[in-house]
Amino acid sequence: MSMVEERLSLVRYVVDTQSHIRVDFTLCSNCADRPCLLCCPAGCFTCEQGAVRHAYEGCLECGTCRLVCLLGAVTWTNPRGGYGVSYRF
């Protein structure tokens, strides 16, 4: 288990069936440095066979991805009320 997965397993989520983040992957193919892969604290962005993938389930809702993506590929909305991350400590 990677370190990020181990960490996320400690976080309480109410997972919605729909993603609150939309990524325009057509822009990612032209992106050389892909800061989303390194900056997302929940490791939601991964690279598989050269293509960027995004999984919203572990999102900590910080909003970093929207800011570090200078191509504007990330459209960010808040998850539905009561859904998403729920910190306990």
Binding site: D33, P41, G81
Partner: protein, 432 residues
């Protein structure tokens, strides 16, 4: 028919709840919309709440609020790869009421704090996202919530939706922050027995410690680490500047791991069990990135407005949030008396902040964020200071060198030209 309140507050963090509390006390009809399951569910900070402002609203709040420990010890540590130099400060005066700061767990504290506003008469609506502001004739007239028939009308809306504020942007009160104006904070809550914490951090009873770190662990990224003591856990994390993180191509989790693995940090955490992991943005640019604070029928408070002060030794936000919420409430109360919620009427809010410590502090420390962007603070200087002391304290049977020749040698080895060091000192002293 739509629902109507005199005031709608968006976000049940310290800023929004303070505003709602003061307004409810003044007899206004106020609703707080919170997107989380409960106040605090989405909220995160390093861990220290400076409580003097809150003490004015709720005298002796620490006697009833779920605070963890009062901060009696503070330290600042510079880290080299395997060494550390610390400045450790403790005073009795921080250990007596009204204290200085408290470590708190936000989910617990924010729920308690919101309940105080509810007891004063505010309506708390959790599980509810506000998607947009409702505009009528160029004036904010309420909010659109993501529910059936989602229009909620209000005379004035207080935007308190946090660092990532989507509403302040939609209201045209702020643009997207520049990367260099934002920090990303990640934190772990690590459980340790109470007695272990007290022995390890040299604390008595409910006294707590706040330790801040800069140095080699961040690989040159503009970042700081922290360890704060809660009652039976530690809050451990790093805050990294987003522009610097992106530039250096380092992962935020790699930074957190490298901080936790430093020998001087590792020993503090030993035997602890990680209970939770969290992340949040910090508007760390101070005055340079403060949003417009008001418009027709709308006010912006707390992190949403960028009201965080980077003093160079720490980032302070929650106390500015509380003060801004109280100032917004006062402006709204006066606006009600006048029956005028226009920009001109709500301008009272900004005038109050200018006269209070909120905008004064941000003004006093307005040059600090630029100073903190100096990369030498995060690599060359901490390493050089540790190297200097290592040689100074080393007793190995070789003849001792004069201090000035050690300094010259250390500076050369760390590629720090003396003029640059002097310039940084002059600039640093001038800024602070």
């Amino acid at each position: 028919m739509s629902v109507r309140f005199e005031v709608v507050v968006v976000g049940a963090g310290p800023a929004g709840v303070s505003a709602a509390h003061a307004l409810a006390r003044a007899g206004l009809e106020v609703a707080i919309f919170e997107r989380g399951e409960y106040p605090g569910a989405k909220n995160m900070f390093g861990g220290v709440l400076y409580g003097r402002v809150l003490h004015e609203l709720i005298p002796n709040f620490w006697e009833v609020a779920p605070v963890e420990r009062y901060v009696g010890r503070r330290s600042l540590t510079m880290l080299s790869a395997d060494g550390s130099v610390s400045l450790d400060f403790r005073t009795e005066s921080f250990t007596r009421p009204p204290y200085n700061g408290f470590t708190v767990s936000r989910p617990r504290f924010d729920q308690w704090y919101a309940q105080q506003a509810v007891a004063a008469g505010a309506l708390l609506v959790p599980d509810t996202v506000v998607d947009d502001l409702l505009w009528e004739d160029g004036q904010v007239a309420g909010v659109i919530v993501r529910r059936d028939r989602g229009v909620v009308r209000a005379n004035v809306v207080i935007v308190a939706d946090g660092a990532n504020s989507l509403l302040a942007r939609q209201a045209g009160l702020r643009t997207d922050p520049q990367l260099r104006h934002m920090g990303l904070g990640v934190k772990e809550v690590i459980r340790l027995p109470r007695q272990t914490i007290e022995e390890r951090f040299n604390l008595q009873g409910d006294e707590g410690a706040a330790k801040e770190f800069v140095g080699a662990f961040s690989g040159g990224v503009q970042a700081g680490g922290f360890v704060y003591t809660n009652r039976e856990s530690l809050s451990v994390g790093v805050v990294a500047n987003l522009a610097s993180l992106r530039e250096r191509r380092l992962g935020i989790l790699a930074l957190l791991d490298s901080f936790k693995e430093h020998p001087s940090v590792r020993r503090l955490l030993e035997g602890g069990e990680v209970r939770e992991y969290a992340a949040h943005l910090v508007p760390e640019a101070g005055l340079a990135a403060v949003s417009a604070l008001y418009g027709d029928g709308v006010l912006v408070v707390g992190d949403a407005a960028g009201l965080v002060c980077a003093t160079g030794l720490s980032l302070e936000g929650a106390n500015y949030s509380i003060a801004s919420g109280l100032a917004a409430a006062e402006a709204v109360r006066l606006a009600k008396e006048r029956g005028d919620y226009s920009r001109a009427s709500l301008a009272h809010y900004e005038r109050t902040l200018r006269d209070s410590f909120v905008l004064r502090d941000l003004h006093t420390y307005r040059r600090t964020p630029a100073l903190l962007a100096n990369p030498r603070l995060y690599a060359a200087y901490p390493k050089a200071v540790c190297a200097f002391l290592e040689e100074l304290f080393m007793v190995d049977g070789r003849p001792k060198r004069r201090v000035r020749s050690i300094v010259g040698d250390v500076l050369a080895r760390h590629e720090i030209p003396i003029w640059r060091l002097l310039w940084d000192i002059v600039r640093g002293v001038g800024t602070l």
